[in-house]
Structures are given as C-alpha cells and as structure tokens.
Symmetry: C2
Subunit: 216 residues, 2 copies
DNA sequence: TGCAGCTCGGGCAAATTTCCCAAGCCGGAT
DNA sequence: ATCCGGCTTGGGAAATTTGCCCGAGCTGCA
C-alpha cells in the first residue's frame, strides 16, 4: 500500500501548469527516495488521483489565494485523514498559510524556496512532521508577534467599518450610517486592507467572517 | 409568564436609535393590545433583554445588511426556539430577507410600510404565523421566479469567476488563471453582480459562501 | 510637555467599476 | 435552413474607487 519506506516516498503532484509539474518531477526524481506516482492539473481532480494512487505526500499548488486549493485540501483530508499534504505556492500571506494549515495541510513551502528546502519538507511531512519554508516561518512569526486576532490591530472605528463592509454595505451607506464623509470611509477601507494584509475585498470579507465579525 | 393573551401582546424593541424606539413605542402602545415591555439599543443586548422579559414578540431592526442582526436572531432562537421575531428594517434585498427567515425570524417588514402593516405583522407573528410586508413579498416573489438557487442563473464561466473572486483572487489573477483578458473578467464580475442582484462585492462573497461555492 | 495613536478628511494620479454595445458560437425552435 | 436566444469574449468611456501622502484635532500616557 503506502508502506513504501523501503522504496522511498511516493508523491502526487497537483499543479495547473504542465511545465511546472515537469520541473517538480525532475527535481524530486533526482533525489532517489522521492517518486512521483501521479499528477493532477487541477484541484478538482486532486482527490481522484489521491484515491487512485494513495501517495505518501501530496504536493499541491494553490495558485489562487482563496478557494479551490483549500477545498482540495479539506476534500482529501476529510476522506483520508492520514493524508499528508504539502502546499507549494508563490503566495505568502499569513492568512493563507494559516488557512492552509487549518484546512489540514502538513506543510507550506513558497516557490522562492531552494529545491533542497522543498525536498526536505516533503521528507518531513512524510514522517508526519509539520514543515514550512523559512520565509513562511518568518511571516507566521511576525504575524504572531503583532496579533492575537487580526482584529487586535484595528481600532473601534475600523472594526465597525469592516463589519458593515463585510456585511454588504456600500461605502456610501457606511458613511451615512456612521455620519462620516465618504472619503473617510474610503480611507478606513484602505487602511484596514493594509493593516490586515488583505489584498482583496473578498479576502476582507472572509477575514471578517473567520474572526466572527460577521456570520455568513 | 408569557401567556398574556388576555392582556395583549408583549413586545421587545431592538433598535440602535432611541428616537426610533420612541416612535415605535408610541405607535404600538396606541394599539391597546400591544405593550412594549423592554428595549435594547444593540443586537448584543437583545438576548439579555429577551431572557429578562420573555416578550411575545421581538421587533428587531437590523440596520446593517449582514451580520449582527442575524446573529441576534440566531442567538435568541437558538436558546428560545419559541421566540417570535419580527425584523423591521429599511433593507429589502432578497438575500437579506431569506437570511433573516433562515436565521429564524417569523416576519420581515420594511420601514416604508404603513404603521398598520407593522402592527398587523406583530399580531400575526404573535399568533405564530409568518408575516411580511407587501414590498418584501414582491421582492421574494420576483426572486423565486427567476431562481432555484441563485447559481442557476449563472453560466459555467460566471460561476468559475465568482468562485475565484470570492476566494480572494484579483481580477488580474483570475484573468491569468483562465487565460482571459482583464476586461472580460471585469465584465463578468459586473454581469454576475447584476444577475445575482448583489450590490456589493461583499454580498457577492457571502452569496458564494451560502451557495457552497466557497468555504470560509 | 511631548510623543504616540486614533479619528477624520483633502488631494490626485492610477486603477477599477459601471454600463452599453458588438461579434462569434452553439443549441433549440420554427 | 433559419432565426432566436443565451453564453462567451472584449472594446469604449464615464464614473468611482484605490493607493498613498499629508495635515489636524483629540486623548492618553510618560
């Protein structure tokens, strides 16, 4: 089955770019103990491939910040809790990293990492350990220093505006509700984004949701 | 306790504006059978007030589209399933109305309704019936005609773009992922909003979430 | 007293959104 | 066969919003 300790570590590659998969495959295969037993080019197929090949480690690229990558992780973990998933992506937002681990990932490595860091991470998660690249560690460390919850970075006004915004209110509506100028609300909006590190309004909304600021 | 059928209907008023509460109170009290036994000026205090006075009907103004009003409803209903809650607000989005009923509200009346419609709604929910003002009924009717799930209105591409957007991806990122021009994605974005009736990106995100398109 | 942080808003260039429109494609209806 | 309608893809132009930078008033704290 997957007790391939003697023969090495079997890997499922999930990435939407064939070229990238080729690169991965080459790097991994050159290690001797790592064997790419399957590939998938989208998150949706990931579980099928996983079930079919039962790899020791899934190396997954969530190219998009939010959804389907995380979904794939949850998908796999929900039905095969012993699955080890290493996320390998170019994104490095603390929120995303936490989400990934929260979804059940065992490791998180950025694309800017050394190949050696990647293969070590694969070996680590195969051993059941948690792994992450140095830059990710720094991001998380930085993040944990400055925040209990992300909300702690925000003032009252900011929180109120975030709540209303995430609740679906227009900038103008918020300005009216709070008796502020539209400009001020816009500035808060921007401030909140920079403070929380959200690059997108959508990320802001899910941030508010995960912090319990709004229910969905 | 709350078996006040002989003495009329006891009401808890929840609204953040004292003036508005005064107005409500005056209107309700003038009816003879309606008695305002308590008030709360925020969603958070609503449950405390409810528990303390056990009113027949809670009249609740969720001034903000999304969150804390719905939370209050769930809060009350979760611990006192026999509670009757009448939402009274200026918002009239179909999504919001459904959410309110989904959260456990018994009625939904807009601020533009006649006072008589409001008091009738209160009596109706007190009898255990469902109640809503005419405009709300129209909105919901309109909405139900055109939609099974909101997603049925959307094509594949639209759904995919909505998913990625709600997941936190930038317009440009989506364009890259799907190999489309930024312009096209922008147009889809706009189209999706008009089709779903979402006025705000945030509403779009929570729409995607409630439809199971994205997890949060 | 003085610094630091929150709140509030102006300014302005750059980017995005909002609508409206056009064209190709395809499937179903006539 | 043809036409209609809907999906997909994008251009164009006006209207808004964003991204940053700045200043001012206020409060609390050292």
């Amino acid at each position: 089955m997957s007790e391939v300790a003697a023969t090495g570590i079997s890997v499922l590659l999930v990435d939407d770019h064939p070229i990238v998969r080729q690169g991965y495959r080459r790097v991994l295969e050159s290690q001797g103990d790592l064997h790419v037993v399957a590939e998938a080019d989208n998150a949706a197929d990931a579980y099928g491939a996983f079930k079919a090949h039962d790899p020791d480690v899934v190396v997954l690229d969530i190219s998009m910040p939010g959804a389907s990558g995380l979904e794939a992780i949850r998908n796999i973990r929900a039905r095969s809790p012993r699955a080890r998933i290493l996320v390998f992506t170019m994104h490095n937002e603390a929120v995303l990293v936490k989400s990934a681990f929260g979804a059940g990932a065992s490791g998180f490595v950025t694309k800017s990492s050394e190949p050696s860091a990647v293969v070590n991470a694969i070996r680590a998660v195969a051993r059941g350990e948690r792994a992450m690249s140095d830059d990710i560690a720094h991001i998380l460390a930085e993040d944990s220093l400055s925040s209990g919850s992300v909300l702690d970075q925000l003032g009252e006004r900011e929180i109120e505006i975030l709540r209303q915004f995430a609740g679906g209110a227009t900038t103008e509506e918020i300005a009216t509700h709070l008796n502020l100028s539209v400009k001020t609300v816009q500035n808060y909006h921007y401030l909140i984004k920079t403070k929380t590190g959200a690059r997108t309004d959508a990320q802001l909304v899910r941030l508010a949701a995960t912090c319990g600021l709004t229910k969905i």
